[in-house]
């Protein structure tokens, strides 16, 4: 009986350990919502969730599976007041797209991966714009969406460095291949 309990606790601990990318991204999402109002509100906060989704899709999709991306999207929907399912749909699409390009991006230099994220961020921004305009049945201003994509691209190396550090605790490079 005690053995089963030990196995159960170990299994649960391992699941929590593997959920580190999800938990860190959730914390970052909540922190990004803090009323800091940097730059007097003229510069948007970077899309940390998108950066996380891209990073883990390339460098360890087993640590941020589709359901975790769905949870992140749904949390963002609830937290920001966006239509339910909107960000979940956007992030899952970005995740699927990044995953399909994984073979191409994995093992590239920092600049190569950065360029990859830039492409994904711009494509996602356009997808967000089209999906948002369709949902609200009027053209949304594209400028703020692109501005957020630009801010996200700028801060991506910092986010990637943090997640690389986290990834070091979860797996070895050879196992992640």
């Amino acid at each position: 009986m005690l053995e089963y309990l030990q196995i159960g606790i170990l299994w649960a601990a391992r699941q929590v350990w593997y959920s580190m990318p999800l938990l860190i991204t959730l914390v970052a999402l909540l922190l990004a919502l803090a009323p800091l109002n940097l730059f007097q509100g003229y510069a948007p906060a970077p899309d940390i969730v998108l950066a996380s989704v891209f990073f883990w899709a390339i460098f360890g999709p087993q640590f941020l599976p589709a359901w975790a991306v769905f949870v992140l999207g749904l949390t963002q929907d609830f937290a920001t007041g966006a239509p339910i399912g909107f960000w979940a749909l956007i992030y899952l699409s970005a995740y699927g797209f990044s995953l399909s390009q994984r073979v191409f991006f994995f093992g590239r230099t920092v600049r190569g991966v950065w360029l990859g994220f830039a492409i994904v961020a711009i494509v996602t921004a356009f997808a967000t714009w089209i999906a948002g305009s369709t949902y609200f049945m009027r053209w949304l201003p594209l400028g703020p969406i692109m501005l957020q994509a630009a801010v996200s691209i700028i801060v991506f190396p910092l986010v990637a460095k943090t997640f690389l550090f986290v990834r070091g605790f979860l797996t070895t490079a050879r196992e992640a291949l």
Binding site: L33, G41, G60, L74, G81, I84, T128, G143
Partner: protein
């Protein structure tokens, strides 16, 4: 390679990981899409869930907001340190000007009171308010809302106007027990009836996710001057009259430069002015000549939400709430 497969760690890292991963993405995309379609078809269907989730996360957001607020105060302090002399000069001049205005204002108030007495004008209803802290600022490129740490328990209800020390900020869209979401004037879904002072023109101020909302439904051929002050009207029974909103911007299209601007206040005031209609479910205006429904018959408009007892109610005339 076989060694790698055995040793790989993670959630869906088995030999079928690739297939389950793609299937789960496809399945969840369908779930998200269905949720989106349902949300679009039945507006407000997820409001209950949203309120529950917001209430649950509000304590966390509140904890996060405190250091954020301190950091903001510190960064503001650092940036103002370099301009302290100019700021002091400016404030001295402004203070002198305001002292003069204060005397004029007192005289005008005395006169207005006297005229109102003579004309037997019914005075404006006094409005109570609740002060709340902004605990989350979801002002992304897509949605413009903020979360405050007061809810139904403090007497908040859907539709109430929210102001800060500069003017109108938005209105309550969902109110949980201890938290509420405020839809800012700049949000795509914001529609506010306003009055352009001077010309006495009425319009609807429509948010479009930019910092300057648009004035729509202006009477044909109407001319508005840049800089004209814009205030709320009681039309539609949503907002109390006379809350300062902004001024007409210099641009060619009729846009509004909001007094609240892009910088957000740490604290806001929610005016406990009970809207006479639910802004989202109000029945359409009857057509001219249409037969009016009988008194007391069901009109489709919901009853006013029960006003909860405020924790620390303060009674102030609306005009005194806002300097505008």
């Amino acid at each position: 390679m076989a060694w790698d497969r055995k040793r790989r760690r993670g959630f869906d890292s088995g030999p079928l990981g690739f297939i389950t991963r793609n299937l789960s993405i496809a399945f969840l995309v369908v779930v998200a899409f269905v949720a989106l379609v349902v949300a679009r078809a039945q507006d407000g269907i997820f409001d209950g869930v949203r309120e529950t989730v917001t209430d649950a996360t509000a304590p966390v957001m509140e904890v996060v907001a405190v250091p954020a607020s301190e950091f903001k105060r510190w960064s503001d302090g650092v940036s103002s340190f370099f301009s302290v002399y100019e700021e002091n000069q400016r404030l001295r001049e402004e203070n002198a000007r305001l002292q003069t205005n204060l005397t004029e204002l007192a005289e005008l108030q005395r006169k207005t009171r006297r005229y109102e007495e003579l004309l037997k004008v019914r005075p404006d209803d006094a409005i109570t308010f609740v002060a709340a802290r902004v605990i989350a600022d979801a002002t992304g490129p897509f949605v413009r809302t903020v979360l405050v740490n007061a809810g139904r328990e403090q007497g908040l209800a859907k539709g109430q106007a929210v102001v800060d020390e500069r003017g109108l900020l938005g209105r309550v869209i969902t109110a949980g027990n201890r938290s509420a979401r405020i839809l800012l004037l700049t949000d795509l879904n914001s529609r506010i009836p306003v009055l352009i002072e001077g010309s006495n023109l009425k319009a609807i101020m429509v948010g479009d996710n930019t910092s300057s909302p648009v004035l729509e439904y202006l009477p044909p051929g109407s001319r508005i001057t840049a800089g004209a002050r814009i205030v709320t009207t009681p039309d539609g029974g949503v907002f109390p009259p006379g809350i300062a909103v902004g001024k007409v911007s210099d641009s060619k299209s009729p846009r509004v430069e909001l007094f609240t601007g892009e910088a957000r206040a740490d604290f806001v005031r929610i005016l406990k002015y009970m809207p006479s209609v639910d802004v989202d479910q109000a029945p359409p205006e009857p057509l001219p000549g249409a037969i009016a429904p009988k008194e007391g018959a069901a009109t489709g408009a919901p009853t006013q939400p029960a006003a909860a007892t405020p924790t620390t109610p303060k009674t102030t005339p609306v005009a005194a709430l806002l300097p505008g």
